[in-house]
Structures are given as C-alpha cells and as structure tokens.
Symmetry: C2
Subunit: 235 residues, 2 copies
C-alpha cells in the first residue's frame, strides 16, 4: 500500500477523515503511524496528497488531509482479457490497475472453463477489492472501468465498437511472428487469450474486425506474465 | 507445462524414456495421454522434440523420443535481484526462467528482511523446482545459472565483475526519471531492488561501478510485476 485510499464515507469534513479496518491496521502495523506523522493519501476517484495523523483510537485514526495533487495519467488502453482462472484473476486485475490501464473487459472464449464464471472471484466486491489494491500499489485513485462480457461473438462484432469506437486493435496470440509494436501512444485495444490461446474461429472474428495479430516470441508465458510483458512493451 | 522435461535418469536408451511422478500425472490428467499420442518433450540441458507414448502403466509411461530441435535462445541478461519475500521468490524465479534470462543472482540488500534468508523457498530443491517449472512453461531446456550472494558490498564491488566482465549495467530504482532503454541487444546486467527500493548507500555503490539508474515511471510496481515489465521493455 503506497497510498492510503480514502472513500467518501471516510470524510468528516472536506479536510478531515477517519479511517478504520484494513487501512487503519495497515497504517499502524506497516507504517507504524503515530500522531503527527504524515501519510500519502488519495481520494478515491479524486486527488492525491498527504494526511497528518491527529488522533489514534483503538480501532480508527483521524487525519487532516491536503489533497492538491493529481493521480498519475492512465494509458489510453482497453484490455480485453479472456476470463482467467480464479486464482489468477485478482492478481491480473490488480496488475492491470497498477499499470494504469483505462478499461478492462473480461470476455468469454472457447478455452475459458465454464466453471470460472461461477467463481467467488467474480463477485462485485472481489472485483472491486482487486482493483483497489492495484490503485494503492500505483498511488493512483481512479478505478479502471470494468466490463463483464459472457458472449464472445456479440461483443467482438458489436459491443466493442460501441465501447471503444476509435482505437488501434491488437490481439495477442502465442506464436504470432509479428512482434508487439513499441511505444503505442494512441488509444488501443489489446485482446489477450486464455491459456492455450484463442481458437481459429475467434482469431478469424478478431481479424474480420480489423485486429492485428501480435506475439511475444517463441516462449509461451503464463497469462499474468504475458499481460505485463505486452503492456510494458507497448507503452 | 508446455514441454515435458526429461532428466538423465528417465532415459532407458538414447531414444526411450520412462517417466513417473508429477510429470506422469500431468501427462495423464491434463494432456489425457494415451498410447500412440505425441507429446512435446525436451532433455534437460539439451535438445527439444517429440515423444510418442508407447505404454502406459499405473504409475509411469514409456515413450520413444525424437530430440532434434534447439531450445529457444536465451537473452544475454544477468538479473541481480534483491532477495524477495519467500511467497514471491519462486514465482519470480519461474518468470525469469520463462522470459529466458541467462543468469540470476539473489542478493542481500538493506531492505531485505533477514528472515527471508532462512526460508524453505531458498532450499536447493525449491530453487531448482521453480526454475524447472519456468522451463516447462517456456518450452526451454536450459536452466539459468543461479547465484546466491549474501553480502552486498563484496559482490557489487568485485564478485559481479568476475561473474560478468563485459556488460552494460543498469539498476532499476522507483522514481528514476530515466526511462528503461528499449531493445538492449548487448549483454547486460539489470539490478532490481527490494520493495521500497535500494537505500542511498546502495545506489551510490551501483553508480560507482558504472550502473545507469533507470525507472518505469510514476507508478510503483510489485516486484514480480516490475521484473517482467523491465525485461519486456529492454528486450
């Protein structure tokens, strides 16, 4: 936690907050906060700054905050990700958030196991928590948009264009000989397949919608590693 | 497991192998191997190819193998990594192996907690297992070298030059304004610090040994994410 994220309910006034629960325990246990200490804070969806600890109680602390900074800029990137295994999902959502992706779409695909869709990792609270932790890591305050799309064809052939009308379209496929383009500054959509890759019909759908197929070379990567490697190389 | 890695003890003859244990269970459970099926295999430290399943027993299978391919090329990169938390260590070692790094050095640093050095994750078997899984993921057969260095100063001011005499030297530090160089094709050393970064004295040591300080921008990343992002951007 590199930034203590404040939610609307924490504010006692525009410059005073009270926090409890996980963030309070973190401030105490990891930052060893005492009265008078300054912590890095940010308002969820808003500005960043500092908070000076005024009072410490048994289960909460109060701070006077000065929120005058801007969160780091987002990358103008929409990542369309075939729903990964539940164990991997929250880590990947956290990483995508930390890396500064603007928008995330979790999509069904042929090789996504049906059971993944009924995992508790897809509960609204879990999806939010994963992104919140990504923001805290990156000192960001703005949640990336998150869309859940259970139907591949209608999304790729319609929903996507409605969501992101103008963007360069890239689809990662293991073994593609076309290297990942570097320094993509324009708005882009990057589609990343499940373990084992997209099936031929899915690749055909992407191609027919103007996607360029790209690859990271001869070494297949785990999904969570591929996500970071692709974005790092593109941005 | 994208490649079934064969060890010397598996070979009954130069073209016949018998496997059991984890790899046997994986071949059966995940690949649903039957007699006559072809699997992608590689000899640890040697060539890659295919194996045709001849016989399946209750706890082992035998294959006839044809090993005529070469494993993917390594990146001429030595990663010097401040020893990460035990929970993260095996994942990072696996990723470094999958990404094709030639050599890994686990180094002590001021902000490495002393307890990390007595973790079971540092047992020889665990260190080997993590890299083996990285090879299986990448369809590689050649283990990256692994060095353990418990003393920062003697390593940075002597051991390193003995290990890697001629290489570009880079040290990642959160917040450095110098971007990661792209497309580094020459041999290089990349030093990556602990959570919280190197302390000033360590940065000074690196600088005095010709290291360029580089950074990934304003968003602090988790160590495992930073490792992949740095290597992907450099290579």
């Amino acid at each position: 936690m590199n930034l203590l994220l404040l939610e609307a309910a924490d504010f006692l006034s525009p410059t005073r907050v009270r926090i409890s629960g996980r963030r309070f325990r973190h401030a105490l246990g990891v930052h060893r906060a005492r009265a008078g200490d300054t912590l890095i804070v940010g308002a969820l969806g808003g500005r960043t700054g500092t908070g000076v600890v005024d009072t410490l109680a048994a289960d909460s602390l109060e701070m006077t905050v000065d929120l005058s900074g801007d969160p780091p800029a987002k990358i103008p990137l929409t990542v369309v990700l075939a729903l990964p295994r539940p164990k991997v999902l929250s880590r990947v959502l956290g990483d995508l958030t930390t890396l500064g992706v603007e928008r995330i779409v979790l999509l069904n695909a042929w090789r996504v196991e049906r059971a993944y869709w009924s995992s508790p990792a897809l509960a609204e609270g879990a999806l939010r928590e994963a992104r919140i932790r990504g923001l805290e890591q990156a000192r960001d305050t703005v949640l990336p948009e998150l869309h859940i799309e259970r139907f591949f064809q209608p999304f790729v052939h319609g929903g996507l264009a409605a969501l992101v009308p103008h963007a360069r379209r890239l689809v990662a496929h293991p073994g593609s000989p076309v290297p990942v383009p570097r320094g993509v500054g324009e708005p882009a959509v990057l589609a990343i397949g499940p373990e084992g890759g997209w099936i031929d019909r899915e690749r055909e759908s992407f191609r027919s919608e103007g996607f360029e197929e790209i690859g990271l070379g001869p070494r297949p990567l785990r999904v969570e590693t591929a996500v970071t490697a692709l974005i790092a190389r593109m941005s």
